[in-house]
Symmetry: C2
Subunit: 431 residues, 2 copies
């Protein structure tokens, strides 16, 4: 058996603990797969004295990052500490020291991934980041290896567990957003400050990473149009369910003839769509390739062990590459620059819920406005509102472009017969 490969950890929270646990518990399988022992050599922690649930030789702990990233015993640095600018500096230093990198840091990769990958390549080092997107689901390897020969034209991801948990509970139990969010916080499925999750920022980072890899095209975080779920009402879920749809927070990345659209927004999907059955905190990424057609990768989107498993699969890849002597030798070509579609090119169906004046002529006023903007109806539901001279109208449109849709929505608000536009969502997976 060859000499052990040395692993240094930056961070020792839940994912770091999971990595240490897997390296220990699965040592035999690991050796079987890579042909040599794998040993944790150094672990950066904030406070060496802190009580820990994971048993670890305390001589391995250090409060000095340099003892990890500059140690001659460390071949591979696993970054599971989070953070952006300071962490980036540490990884640059580690790469300059010829350490291979495995990171679970989506924030860092969404912002500085291209730069770090270039440096890694220059230094002959691997830099893998499977754990940064969709936890335990091997989606990045699926895109870069499994579907490598295909031309991917569309990805739809449920890539945030917190929001999927909230929408599932709202939808199955008919409860309000605030009520479910509070319960999710008590159960640990949502952070005490849930903004990054519920407003879609976390999902946007993951979609930027997915789109960059899937389309071989540099997609920036700022390219992602983002809308969260904090304004989704139980009524929206109720009516969409009646009309045959399930609401999910969907990260959507599409390309047509080299032009890209990318967004994160609450989206209605037909009940029979594979993503509609992805419940609770689970994640899934639906990938459409020109040749393969529909595929979907499903699994746990977060959690110490699933995320650690993804990081470990990267570790295995790095060690295999070390033993083959091919680290950092990417044979994939450079990324193209991505060109975003304009609103005229973004086609979709929409769900629109209006409260309208309940009198003769209302409907004809509304339908002529829709006709004016060339937006036609696929489904329609009208219901009286109890105790008011008002009616609720829910429309599922046929496909239209986003420019027309936005003009329509602006004008709808101003119609005298419309009390209010209650809500509006994109509809995908139909037609």
């Amino acid at each position: 058996m060859d000499r052990a490969v040395g692993v240094g950890l930056l961070g020792f929270g839940t994912v770091g603990g999971g990595v240490v646990e897997i390296i220990e518990r699965h040592q035999q399988e690991l050796q079987h797969k890579v042909g040599c022992p794998v040993e944790v050599k150094k672990v950066l922690v904030r406070d060496k004295k802190k009580d820990r649930s994971i048993v670890i030789d305390e001589h391995l702990l250090t409060e000095q990052a340099d003892e990890v990233i500059s140690s001659p015993d460390v071949d591979i640095v696993m970054e599971v500490m989070g953070g952006i600018e300071e962490t980036k500096k540490l990884l640059i230093k580690a790469l300059n020291n010829k350490k291979h990198i495995v990171t679970a840091n989506k924030d860092l990769m969404a912002l500085h991934g291209a730069e770090l990958l270039q440096l890694a390549s220059d230094k002959g080092c691997d830099l893998f980041y499977e754990a940064s997107v969709a936890g335990g689901i091997p989606i990045l390897k699926g895109l870069s290896d499994g579907l490598s020969a295909d031309r991917i034209t569309k990805m739809m991801g449920i890539v945030n567990g917190t929001t999927n948990y909230i929408l599932t509970k709202m939808s199955h139990e008919g409860r309000s957003y605030d009520e479910v969010l509070q319960q999710a916080q008590e159960l640990g499925f949502a952070e005490s400050d849930p903004t990054a999750d519920v407003e879609g920022l976390d999902a946007a980072r993951k979609m930027a990473i997915l789109a960059t890899l899937g389309f071989s095209s540099k997609v920036e975080l700022d390219d992602v149009s983002v809308k969260g779920i904090s304004n989704v009402s139980d009524a929206d879920l109720y009516y969409s369910h009646q009309l045959g749809y399930t609401m999910k927070l969907i990260g959507l990345a599409k390309r047509d003839e080299g032009r890209i659209e990318i967004s994160v927004q609450p989206t209605l999907l037909p009940h029979q769509h594979p993503l509609s059955s992805v419940h609770n905190e689970y994640n899934a990424v639906y990938v459409y390739g020109e040749a393969v057609g529909e595929t979907m990768f499903y699994g746990p989107g977060a959690g110490a062990l699933p995320t650690a498993t993804a990081a470990m699969s990267d570790l295995v890849q790095v060690i295999r590459n070390m033993r083959l002597g091919v680290n950092g030798k990417s044979v994939q070509g450079p990324l193209t620059k991505s060109v975003l579609k304009d609103d005229q090119e973004i086609e979709s169906q929409y769900f629109i819920r209006l409260k309208v004046v309940d009198r003769a002529g209302t409907f004809s006023t509304i339908t002529s406005l829709f006709a004016e903007y060339e937006v036609s109806f696929e489904k329609l539901l009208q219901l009286p509102v109890d105790g008011e001279a008002a009616a609720e109208v829910i429309i599922i449109t046929h496909k239209t472009n986003k420019a027309n849709y936005q003009l329509l929505m602006n004008t709808l608000e101003e119609l005298a017969v419309v009390h209010s536009v209650e809500s509006s969502y994109r509809v995908e997976g139909g037609q």
Copy 2:
């Protein structure tokens, strides 16, 4: 740009045609991914004169296998002709000529995979077979790379599109097996001789390949216990649906402490199980890893382009390895010998449907027999049978071992109060 890599095809049916189409249509992306042109150099066909829908330079066609497997222009042989013994000889000759192999042949790999892989390794050649299991789903790469660091303990696969199509139609439309099979044959979803599909043999081959890879343990085709769907009745589907289950033909591979069970059989899954939403001709493989937990890979299980895409992803891998100079350098250790569980160790729930004499005491006779074999009830449904002094009893048992279950079933048949045991199925994914 470096010199082109030469590809030789053995076979030019639907998958072979798909390969040629993808190499042509996606040439630019391919070059981007592997850094050199990829060219089809020779194609073995039965009859050069036959009319073909795919346009191909007829100088590339040959009726002599040797012109493919011994051509100095061919670096990689893609085997998409099917067949077992003759095909094996051709591949052995190709490997002896130092050609890398990509094959879509599940029959061959289920029977002779270990031998061929060993020869490939000895010759410094790659031999990849992603397309042999579940068409366009990159499940083999998912197991060998994505989940490489985890210990996989359970796999459940819907790996045969024909049977999934038939069960979906029977279940959704309340039609009989014979009726749906006939329609499936007319639509081309089932072969004119559907035996290998409907009796579970096709699925068994794929499960042997999956289990060998997922458990790093040599699982033989003969190890797979196989039952098909030809005796599934619409009544079985109706009652299982009423009790909250969906019936699927499930390939199940489990290991506990190094002992393995592997089977293909009609199985009931709770409606909310991810595999329950896999409809029509789609395939999916559900993988449980100790660390990652539940994951699922979903996609088209057959079809020219999906299967060709899987073969193409292998081709990309071979070419990347060629450019890195690492073909055939597997760093994975040898397979362990698999030890099968005996019936006492195989634990499961069961669905049992009986027709019984409708008189006082029947139920108590049956329940005391169940108690004798330590099989307890989770759910129970009793219904009168129209116009007969009989009742239908449907039981979902708690978990029991297969030995007890079989003793129970043998004795049930002999009870005077039991007219007949109508059907019985394994139940998975609960408890």
